[in-house]
Symmetry: C3
Subunit: 313 residues, 3 copies
């Protein structure tokens, strides 16, 4: 288990933007320490004992919420899930008012998911405690990028020089957004592939854009497939999901032709046989999808631990 000694230079985790390569390496190193803890015969850890963790999820995301809930409880925190769908938010209360109300209850860390870009930044501005961005609209989703980085690093032994192809709705994906910041920072080479309507107007420096998925795949070590919203797919491929799958779906055949050694990732939940074949997703030799989920808990434990250290000493 990680020792509570290292200092983290930030009060909040609002995005990959603002983090240094050293920060990211620190989080990944600490997360490594939790993997064995989670897999083993657990003895309780209670470093967050007595601390209040609020998960304020203004947008449904059972998977991410659950990962943060389990992570906090494994550290001994008192975890409470705030469900705005049942609350005064419905009666028109602003995000800032809700955040101030939560803050008055004196939480020790707040995890926020919200449909608006910048929501986590707004909340952090009015709160006294650490804030973790669990996804803000089409903005950032830093813990997803961190768990992706950890998954890659564990399998390839490094991030530096790794060739990563990300494919799907690059335009609207916060997962892509955060990964396009974190991976290059750690020395990886990133290419993105999407139909023109799902490609953003501009990309961070050093990211190569491809309309042709096969070209983007050539020589990749890692292929990250993104969940495609059906309504957005219809913009690019009005005729059929089969056309989308033919152009941008990942299969064993496509991998064999263009990136025979690549490992496959997906943030979940998948549309089987749309962006990725079910057979490939289930192939334990190629798919890291479940390991991403596992790394998610470890990364979130590391973040919760690091961000609350100052409050505990």
């Amino acid at each position: 288990m990680p020792q509570p000694e290292t200092a983290f230079a930030h009060r909040d985790l609002l995005g990959i933007a603002g983090l240094s390569a050293t920060d990211i390496a620190l989080i990944l190193d600490e997360a490594e320490g939790w993997i064995g803890f989670n897999r083993g015969k657990r003895k309780a850890d209670d470093r967050l004992r007595g601390l209040t963790q609020i998960n304020a999820f203004f947008e449904n995301s059972t998977r991410t919420l659950f990962s943060f809930e389990i992570a906090g409880k494994r550290l001994g925190a008192q975890v409470s899930n705030f469900r705005p769908e049942e609350s005064s938010v419905k009666k028109g209360e602003s995000l800032t008012d809700t955040a101030l109300t939560l803050g008055a209850m004196r939480p020790d860390v707040v995890v926020i998911r919200h449909e608006a870009v910048g929501a986590a930044v707004d909340v952090a501005r009015v709160l006294d405690c650490p804030v973790i961005n669990a996804g803000d609209g089409t903005g950032e989703h830093p813990t997803q990028a961190l768990l992706d980085a950890l998954t890659i690093r564990r399998h390839l032994g490094r991030l530096d020089g790794v060739k990563v192809t990300i494919c799907g709705d690059i335009r609207h994906s916060r997962v892509a957004g955060s990964n396009m910041l974190s991976l290059p920072l750690m020395g990886a080479e990133v290419r993105v592939a999407a139909p023109p309507s799902l490609m953003p107007d501009s990309l961070p420096d050093g990211i190569a854009a491809y309309e042709d998925f096969d070209a983007a795949l050539a020589g990749a070590d890692i292929v990250m497939m993104l969940r495609i919203q059906r309504e957005r797919m219809a913009t690019a491929f009005p005729d059929s999901t089969e056309d989308y799958h033919a152009a941008y779906g990942l299969t064993h055949q496509r991998l064999a032709r263009h990136a025979p050694n690549a490992l496959v990732m997906h943030p979940g939940p998948m549309n089987r046989d749309v962006e990725i074949s079910g057979e490939l997703a289930d192939d334990p030799e190629r798919s890291l999808i479940l390991e991403q989920v596992e790394m998610g808990v470890a990364v979130r434990m590391a973040c919760l631990d690091l961000l609350t250290r100052a409050r505990r000493t």
Copy 2:
């Protein structure tokens, strides 16, 4: 409090099918030990401290969910309720994919409720940890049958030779299904009563079927009334609930005539004055309904404790 010494021969609790009389007796004996604990001035028990219990309820059942939640917390577990109604399940994710995702978070025990027969078996097949079936469609509901057995044993001192009449929608009830396995295994004599449309096509060996409720009642020690779904009642009695109540409703009068010493059970929630008169349900001399709820917590504590012993030592 039960001592963590006894070994339980199974990794999972998927149904009464597969359990021996010895297994059932062990669970009931262990549950006995928790009754006093729950009634007393509780000191915390923390034998499941550090362990993650996931309650994955794909079907609403506040009562059963709550019983498992309280049971787990009383043992010190970190309990998290997975609410698929808000999740990717809605987006078409398969049960197996959801189970694998939950499994990647490294739970120590998963309690599952699902509308499909066999769901718990499917989930157990892909998970590394113990799985408890909290109801799978018209399949099994083993902890309900166990709490029923415990309730009877406490009141009559034995299960062997006890005459139990179960009445209601036998065809679709997993409560009936599990009890028709557990009670005969423990030596009880079971009769079931229902209108023809609510009687299954076949019954386990040794179960006697009656269309005439009064005949089924004759000499019963225990009468278990099942909740009747109004839409199903309408199949059997299209004209009125009064007709159903006249034919299959339990009252003090009916008991006095046919089973004057019988005690009354119901898994809840009741339709008062449909399958059972409110007056009878509330009669502390005859009704064991609330005690069933209490035994439910004790039985679930015993199951959670027994199934996680191998992980704790």
Copy 3:
């Protein structure tokens, strides 16, 4: 932190009615002890360790539910939220049946919110454990009145002789109802202001009623604004919310004219610029709104602690 020595004369907290000034002072004194605890680097308190707290909220109130949940967890209780919207309540189970079912699970304290006046009293009648009323229809909301009293006492150093003006939907507000009992008991002078349709038919002894808000404000030390339901506002002011705001909305200008030193309170959530100007609500020199939220957690910790003492010794 409060010491578990003092005895509280009541098993339940069902309303301000029935409490003495000594009871209220005791709760406020104990709550004072939790304020610093909540603000500081928390070490865990576990005086409720092993105890089961059920929050049974039959009516949505995320804010109050959350406050009770956090309060219980900070004391080490095992807190479970019962969500009747997903339960057999929907299938027609009576409140008493639901309460008996919860009681059979042997909780140590039950917090209930319900839309019917008297619901908490009904539940307390059938349960063996302490019951806290978290709001019963237009009846009482005692912990809100207690947190209001604590907020005032901390700012003015006393309750005796303090002039409090409460404005809004006095007729339907349980917050007003409980405050009209608690504040006079503690020696405060209370005036209420509302349009005639929102004024109750009768008021407790000693409460002065005003149709003219400005007259009610004159010389006030504290102004409590109530949330106005838009459908009820329309009864009094069918033409516009602007008319309501002009007659009964609180602003800096109105305060400056009639109660230049008054502090402002609101139980939340606010309708900004309807019953209170957003600018005033946000003014840290005048508004105690967030402090009320903070005091809510402290008061609820005190109540949970006091009411469970008898079970713990």
